[in-house]
Subunit: 460 residues, 2 copies
């Protein structure tokens, strides 16, 4: 119960403007899930000490705390309920330092990805991670969900970009592990537990992020492949080609590309070669001419080898943005099928073709009115998969069973980069190793004995 | 106490040939630390179930277990005492599968790095990690110490090469998390706790390792820089140069290079330009001519810019191996100064020059008979540092204080890639964040309530 006394105590910590209820809260957008703000009370601390004071107070009074970053999460990790309080990092948005020689940024948890990307770009550096929700997703939220995105095959997921971390624990104590180096073995690497914990073990207040060299001169191509197996073979070939520096390799199955290109256009792309698998490949080189000619040559070779059916090389920034739009505006599918089910899986590359064939067959078996869409990040075998009926959806259990059939045996994952939140809890409980689950539960009890941190999420 | 009954029970699990005592144990080399075999009893299980049965038995009878891989660890993590038993992975050496299209190997914990490197090379792949003790270091041991080495700046430390893990917990239960994909967020990433835990939380029995493309045609240069700051600037410049694919960048301070080159030869290298900082740079390209000309051009540009004083480009495999020998046979220093103290630190790149100047000054302050040696992995700021007296060593506390002065404030680490073991425990207790230490202790109690796993190491 959030009493008036609790509200008064919170106000003492964050000031009147830092406490949002009723009227002031109604001005805030709920984000990706309509229930994110259901708690009705939000505190907006301005520094780590305020976060610590809030958690200490809430722990003492057993008040549940739901941490909020940019509210872009797709698994319901930020959903809150009456009786809980939301702790938003929205006022902790400082880039404390960015060192070009070291390739390191020290940031507060509420900095958005795009803000950090822009700061890094001004030093010819990149964050080394990129996701479509860059404008609102925060670094703290991306750490808490171990975000992936388009560059992970090359530069790792968020876990691999984090060098150091500061975390406020549920009892208000502060773990400071802000090393700025990649090699540090100072006992158990506890920061790894908070990465991907979706705010159930503590709140990420500050981080040291490793930056990467920025893109040089880029070349972009839309590529049609005779099969997903060919797309994988092409990817591996480019990974071994020292004349090509591959930046991004995004995948779209026929079902996704056909609908997205017809809805988004332009006509030239919508009329592109019919094929089971499409890729967007982006490379860079020391100059523009070299970037284009190296990619053109590699694609010509691949056509000759039969790995590629056809390809369009972007000749202008307009070409490039039209090609990327088909992949990045994936909401075009959810707008067309708002009641579809969505999944976020990883499939080992050697099994990708098999899984996609199994998926096409599964969709056909569900009936003629059922549509399936698959797209994602090729290098990681990370597929975002949608299933929807033209009139009514098939039963969710049946769809789930089809999506996850053989996935674990293949070495894949039912939860790639969006996290567990509330949405993937049935999967977690059904598919996880029981010994791992028991250990997760003891970790949760050890770190958060009163169970105040983001209740209901993961094993809470 | 290891009673006859316990020995009989162990023999029932691993068979007579899998239990080594007195005579049979004396045939085994103790490895990097003379006390590794002091327990006097070793079990050598052949599979995960046997490991589980051993731990279950030992846990029930509170018998301490010291896991052994290749016994190459430099921090005493494999040291054992009478009353304990050693559990060696020496009979679990299977490469279960190696998929070239997926770039993945599934291995047992006792496989040596070199064995896996050779298997990967036959598919034009690399393990993505390389350390000088490759011939005996095992994958399980490298996971347990989160090994780093020469390629970490580019391909990550061991933590970043591990996709999936199988671990036997102290009570004999088996956590199976053998995913084969880079993106997997299935709750808390518990495998991260075992990586770098030096066998104090469980025993790594199997792992899924992500492989990387193998080297193409390489070029190698020995480079003298007017300062360590210049060496760092050169490294960053090459990282941004899309015409260069940098594979390795090893660092040697003047003090190291002068002694090692004079002891190891050849005369041409020993007579190479006098400078404060030396690098070995290795690059690759699509063909030999291109590899050599690109590196030559980059070095010529760097000489013009003043980043490089002089450089020798290897023209043959013999040149290449002579250059590498000066860096890889670092034991030449420990043979010359067998009683020296050694440290393994990380320094953020922007502070490397400052730290090294501080080090030179510190050595001078200790007295005219004191020698200091620094070398290591440039891209990670990872320095291996030795201090020794010509006649007698300075007091260790004084040397420690000098090495660690300002290191934490700089964002560095007192334990880069060799682990804590027994040797770095004083550092751990003195320098670690107290909140992190308390959490580490609760993790240890939660996972290993009877304290049987590798006692005395890290927080045991």
């Amino acid at each position: 119960m959030i009493t008036e006394d609790i509200l008064a105590a919170l106000r003492l910590i964050v000031g009147a403007s830092g406490l949002k209820t009723a009227d002031t809260l109604s001005l805030i957008h709920p984000g990706a899930d309509p229930h994110n703000l259901d708690a009705g009370v939000m505190v907006v601390p301005r520094n780590t000490d305020q976060v610590a004071a809030i958690l200490s107070l809430c722990n003492m009074h057993r008040i549940a705390v739901v941490p909020h970053g940019g509210r872009t999460g797709l698994a319901g990790g930020a959903v809150s309920s009456p009786g809980e309080i939301i702790l938003s990092l929205a006022a902790m948005t400082r880039i404390e330092s960015l060192s070009a020689p070291a390739g390191i940024a020290i940031v507060e948890g509420g900095v958005t990805l795009q803000t950090l990307q822009e700061a890094a770009a001004s030093a010819n550096l990149s964050v080394g991670i990129d996701i479509a929700s860059r404008g609102s997703a925060t670094i703290g939220g991306m750490i808490s969900t171990n975000a992936g995105g388009m560059e992970a095959f090359r530069l790792g997921v968020m876990r691999h970009r984090v060098l150091g971390l500061e975390v406020v624990l549920p009892d208000g104590s502060i773990m400071r592990d802000m090393v700025q180096v990649a090699k540090s073995n100072e006992g158990y690497d506890l920061k790894q537990l908070f990465i991907g914990a979706e705010g159930t073990l503590g709140i990420v207040t500050r981080a040291v992020i490793r930056l990467a060299p920025g893109d040089a001169f880029t070349a972009t191509a839309l590529v049609a492949c005779p099969s997903a197996a060919n797309a994988v073979a092409l990817f591996q070939k480019l990974q071994h080609n020292r004349g090509i520096h591959l930046l991004r390799a995004e995948f779209m199955a026929r079902n996704y590309f056909a609908l997205a290109s017809s809805l988004l256009g332009p006509a030239t792309l919508a009329a592109f070669t019919e094929a089971p698998a499409y890729l967007i490949l982006e490379t860079d080189a020391a100059n523009q001419r070299q970037a284009l000619s190296a990619l053109e040559q590699a694609l010509a070779d691949s056509i000759e080898e039969g790995l590629v059916a056809d390809a369009i090389l972007a000749q202008s920034e307009k070409d490039r943005s039209e090609i990327w739009n088909i992949r990045e505006d994936s909401n075009v599918i959810t707008r067309a099928y708002p009641h579809g089910y969505w999944f976020d899986i990883s499939v080992p590359l050697q099994e990708l073709d098999t899984w996609l064939r199994q998926f096409d067959q599964g969709i056909a078996d569900l009936g003629p009115d059922i549509r399936g869409f698959a797209f994602g990040h090729l290098g990681d075998g990370n597929l975002h998969v949608g299933v929807a009926g033209e009139s009514t959806n098939p039963p969710k259990d049946k769809v789930r069973a089809m999506i996850y059939a053989n996935l674990k045996e293949m070495g894949g994952s039912f939860s790639a980069e969006h996290g567990i939140g509330l949405e993937k809890k049935p999967e977690l409980m059904a598919l996880i190793d029981p010994v791992k689950l028991a250990l997760m539960q003891s970790i949760k009890r050890t770190f958060d004995p009163k169970g105040i941190m983001n209740p209901g999420k993961i094993v809470g």
